[in-house]
């Protein structure tokens, strides 16, 4: 039933209202004493020399790409699992082929060292 989805958005609205209202309303009573050193980026007392947004290691990007590959696989597996009994042997064979290709890919990225983090 489509109206069953309405409470989710209602809930989201209430969940949005609570932090938003507290943030705005308590601005009236919160102290506001900005100070130059208080507003500096926190680096354990040392004055920061440059901007934080420098370059970082490429491994984070590799992990992100692997995530896309395997998460799409998961999304593909979930509806298959729900209809598993209905699909029968045909479904098992189909998914066996799909998983086989993926496992070969998984072994390949393992051998390539994409899963190493050194």
């Amino acid at each position: 039933m489509p109206q069953n989805y309405v409470p989710i958005f209602l809930f989201m609205g209430v969940a949005f209202a609570i932090p938003a209202v507290t943030l705005v309303l308590f601005k009236l009573v919160r102290p506001e004493n900005p100070h130059k050193t208080k507003l500096m980026p926190y680096e354990c007392g040392i004055t920061p020399l440059d901007d934080a947004r420098g370059r970082y290691t490429v491994r984070f990007y590799i992990v992100a790409i692997l995530f896309v590959v395997f998460d799409v696989e998961t999304i593909f597996l979930l509806p298959w699992a729900v209809r598993f009994r209905w699909l029968g042997k045909f479904g098992l064979l189909e998914m066996g082929i799909f998983l086989g290709i993926l496992i070969v890919g998984y072994i390949w990225i393992w051998k390539k060292g994409a899963l190493e983090w050194v």
Binding site: I8, F11, A15, P41, Y42, R53, R59, L78, L92, I103
Partner: protein, 345 residues
């Protein structure tokens, strides 16, 4: 039920659920401080009220009345949006979690759940995934080195373990054949030989359960996978530059996520609210909720217990564990479950 009644009933349920959830979050913080204190041979909070029971209220008041610093070096729109995103979606995932059977209150027959949708599990997976944005954006928008490192680590860790988490659920879905959380729990009713409950855990999903549990610890950034926060090296990770209410939002998001994960583990693997029913009718209506709460409490206790026991992983160990141990285990579990179910049919 007319649409008007439906909306009113939903709003009442939302208000109750939010109240229970936020109180639960506040008292989980108290419980954690108390238990970790006892584990480390300290007292934990004792001063505010008996056994420090009013400590959460004192903390809440302090969060509201402290100065909310917005440093000038941050990217302001995302800096403010990030904690909101983290909290809103952490809380919203509760919307589809059932806590008990159907009840009739004042002539209205309704499930003990804010809304019963047939793709409940997918909705929870989707909503909790959005929570990653809150942390990634907080780390980036803060423009501080600790925050950026914490945010990057958190993002890489959460997306890595999300794969194992998603795959560990496939076995459960094969057994129950539905995305509806209520349907999954209903499929676990009954016992074998009169004493062994037909929980998915005992139906052969114990490997999936432990994979899920470990992935869930990583998803919620808890010890031993709390590298995004890692006090000893990153100060506080992605929320280093946050203070007062915005900091509290990240805190509430983390604990609300713990609750979601604990509820999901109880529903998917441990039979949800099934348990022995006895006594008069009113007791039989309340007992399922009690059995469910007991399971969730057991998970929360386990979370805190592990926090008091285990040291933190190293980052390369963490990534290795997620990709080279949990992922193959989850795939093996799904293949074996599929084969067994297909051969039995």
């Amino acid at each position: 039920m007319t649409l008007g009644t439906f909306i009113i009933v939903s709003v009442i349920k939302i208000v109750i659920a939010l109240f229970v959830l936020l109180t639960g979050v506040a008292y989980t913080v108290w419980l954690e401080r108390k238990l970790v204190g006892r584990i480390q041979n300290r007292w934990g909070p004792t001063r505010v009220g008996p056994f420090g029971l009013l400590q959460p209220l004192a903390d809440g008041a302090k969060f509201l009345f402290k100065e909310d610093i917005t440093p000038p070096h941050v990217y302001k729109p995302l800096y403010i949006a990030a904690p909101m995103i983290a909290m809103i979606f952490a809380v919203t995932s509760m919307a589809v979690i059932p806590i008990g059977d159907w009840v009739t209150v004042a002539g209205v027959h309704t499930p003990l759940q804010i809304t019963d949708v047939n793709i409940g599990l997918l909705i929870i997976l989707g909503i909790t995934s959005i929570g990653v944005y809150g942390i990634a954006l907080a780390g980036w928008a803060s423009n501080s080195k600790y925050s950026l490192l914490g945010g990057l680590r958190a993002t890489a860790q959460m997306i890595s373990y999300e794969v194992a988490l998603g795959l560990s659920l496939v076995g459960v879905l094969i057994l129950s054949g539905t995305f509806s959380l209520r349907g999954i729990v209903d499929a676990q009713a009954g016992t074998w030989w009169g004493w062994l409950p037909k929980w998915n855990f005992f139906q052969g999903q114990f490997v999936a359960f432990f994979v899920y549990l470990m992935a869930a610890f990583a998803e919620t950034n808890r010890v031993p996978f709390d590298l995004p926060e890692a006090e000893t090296e990153l100060v506080a990770g992605y929320h280093t530059e946050y203070s007062a209410m915005k900091f509290a939002m990240f805190f509430m998001a983390e604990y609300a996520n713990m609750f979601t994960v604990a509820c999901l583990a109880s529903l998917l693997f441990l039979g949800g609210w099934h348990g022995p029913l006895f006594g008069p009718t009113w007791l039989q209506e309340i007992l399922p909720v009690f059995w469910f709460a007991l399971r969730v409490f057991a998970f929360i206790f386990l979370y805190i217990w592990i926090r008091g026991t285990l040291p933190r992983f190293r980052y390369d160990q963490l990534m290795k564990f997620g990709w080279k141990v949990l992922l193959p285990l989850a795939v093996a579990n799904l293949v074996i479950t599929g084969l067994v179910v297909a051969l039995r049919a």
